[in-house]
């Protein structure tokens, strides 16, 4: 187990290095630069800036310098926001984004599995149709539409919650709702399918033949089997949610990290591009590892070893 985990962590570092390398060279291949704008700078000023940020160095030297710094978790200064480093941006934005993200995750897990179980148990009955209908809406209506509708009706018309802003717990409600709509829908669908499959298995019939009451059959015998396929989906999905949703943060005016993913590219803010990309890659690798560990907790047939085969 320990050997396996060490192997996985080494592999993760390799993956992140590959991501850094690819992103670095692709980013520099985009025409334009961080200080290109419609204001024409004096050549001397341009040269000074380039020298200040080592943009005149050969590309490969810039790359090795970046790797060296990144190894010490120094991701450099931002080009756009004077006097702030990439680390500052992540430190400031990520907790806010992660707060909304993790709340949406928990909400999605609870509501999604609940709706999914109900739908499976009441297959082809009203409750199933309602849950499936909600899930279809959640999947097909984009989050910005849901966010805007919430903002207009719940925030502006009914005054239940403040429509925008950050800082007050009340201001969390609508972004979390809007952000969780899609994962709730997906988890509902997956849980339903998975539960239906499990409920027709022979071991459920055995459990019934043992005279166990319905709730024990559903929660002890069926659910544990049904969440195995769900785990696969959840890992990468929650890595994405935690890194923020640009649209939701933009609509609700939340100073999270989401906006930097998009603006850094148009700004050619090289260190921010790199920093955010590494953040996503790291979360993704971590969550996949967590999912693999979670498998072994749920399914005793899965053992983590570094041997091929059984």
């Amino acid at each position: 187990m320990v050997r396996y985990l060490l192997g996985r962590i080494l592999a993760a570092i390799l993956v992140i290095w590959l991501v850094i390398t690819l992103t670095f060279f692709l980013m520099h291949a985009i025409p334009g630069g961080p200080f290109a704008s419609d204001k024409i700078l004096l050549p001397q000023v341009q040269a000074n800036i380039n020298a200040r940020y080592h943009l005149n160095d050969p590309l490969f030297k810039q790359y090795t310098d970046y790797l060296k710094n990144a190894a010490h978790f120094d991701f450099g200064p931002t080009f756009r926001y004077q006097g702030r480093s990439v680390n500052d941006i992540i430190k400031e934005g990520l907790p806010r984004t992660a707060a909304i993200g993790s709340m949406a995750t928990i909400l999605a897990l609870i509501c999604g599995t609940f709706l999914g179980i109900i739908a499976a148990l009441r297959q082809n009955k009203t409750a199933d149709y309602v849950a499936t209908f909600l899930a279809t809406i959640g999947i097909s209506v984009p989050s910005f539409v849901i966010a805007t509708l919430l903002q207009y009706y719940v925030g502006f018309k009914l005054h239940l919650f403040p429509p925008i802003g950050w800082g007050d717990p009340n201001q969390l409600v609508m972004p979390v709702l809007a952000l969780s709509a899609y994962p709730v829908a997906q988890i509902t669908r997956l849980t339903r399918t998975s539960m239906l499959d499990v409920l027709h298995q022979d071991y459920i019939r055995t459990a019934k033949a043992k005279g166990l009451p319905g709730y024990i059959i559903v929660f002890r015998h069926a659910l544990k089997n049904a969440i195995i396929p769900l785990l696969t989906f959840m890992g990468p999905f929650f890595a994405y949610i935690l890194c923020g949703n640009f649209v939701i943060e933009y609509i609700f005016n939340i100073p999270g990290i989401g906006q930097y993913f998009v603006t850094s590219i148009t700004n050619r803010d090289y260190p921010v591009i790199m920093g955010t990309t590494i953040l996503v890659a790291t979360l993704m690798v971590t969550f996949n590892l967590l999912v693999d560990i979670a498998y072994t907790l749920v399914d005793p047939r899965i053992k983590l070893t570094d041997q091929k085969g059984v």
């Binding site: 071991y203 033949a209 005279g211 749920v298 005793p300």
Partner: protein
Amino acid sequence: MALLEVENLSTSFYTYAGEVQSVSGVSFHVDEGEAVGIVGESGCGKSVTVQSIMRLIPNPPGKIKNGQIRLAGRDLVRLPEKEMQKIRGKEIGMIFQDPMTSLNPVLTIGRQMTEVLQHHEGIGKNEALGRAAKYLTMVGISNPERRLKQYPHEFSGGMRQRVMIAMALLCNPKLLIADEPTTALDVTIQAQILELMKDLKDKVNTSIILITHDLGVVAGLCSRIIVMYGGKIVEMGSTQDIFKDPRHPYTWGLLKSVPRLDASKRSKLVPIVGSPPDLLNPPKGCGFAARCPHAMKICETQPPAYTDLNEKHRAACWLLHPDAPKVTFNGIDEKEARS
């Protein structure tokens, strides 16, 4: 005394194509301490019959349409679900066909066994584990304490079926239903499991209903045999009667299709030609008429009534009518078997 009485049981499945009459008008009984075999080919209603007894028919689409199932006098068909849960696992234990899929892969054997006891008898975990270990030993699983902590995938097929048997017997049920318990196992393991069941039958004094499509399996264990065809009982009688004096052409067919060690090498197995009736549109007359080599005109138009041949032995066939031509079972050709 009869422990279980099934009277005029009919179970149907309602599909888009229409009503499939899987079991229609089945009546039989099982005495205390008796082992009864139900034989017949796939789709003849054996499993549906016992699943009706357990009320495990998935509804919808299935439904017990008619009849009574009395366990020690109580009618199970009209029992509320809550009461039925107290019968399942406690008064009737059940073993299924495929031990590879009948145990929950993510729960330990101990958990799956003790939950029966905890639920039905309300005893504590340690006491339940102790009883489970005792029963595992009884079905021939050594090192039970360690085995209880293991998961199903750590057991072989035969071992899993032993676990299933132990689990079904935990609450000392009055009736044990075994739905093709050996079909999914290879021959040597089959023999072991049958030996075990024979052994346990005397030890725990429970009645047994054994379902199989293998006549050899029932012969060794059961004192009475019920032959089902097309959702109906076509013949039933003591094991002696069924093997030595079978009266229904379908039973003849079944007996002829059993491979025999003492048959000559050149003799071929005799299959029953044709396929079982479509229970979506059951035939008006005898279900077997279309495949019966002795079918008469009346067989196609009117269902045969039961003819009692002795106290236990009865068959539903027009050939047993006083006016019918005399046709007898010539058995496996004795001359051929000897040569």
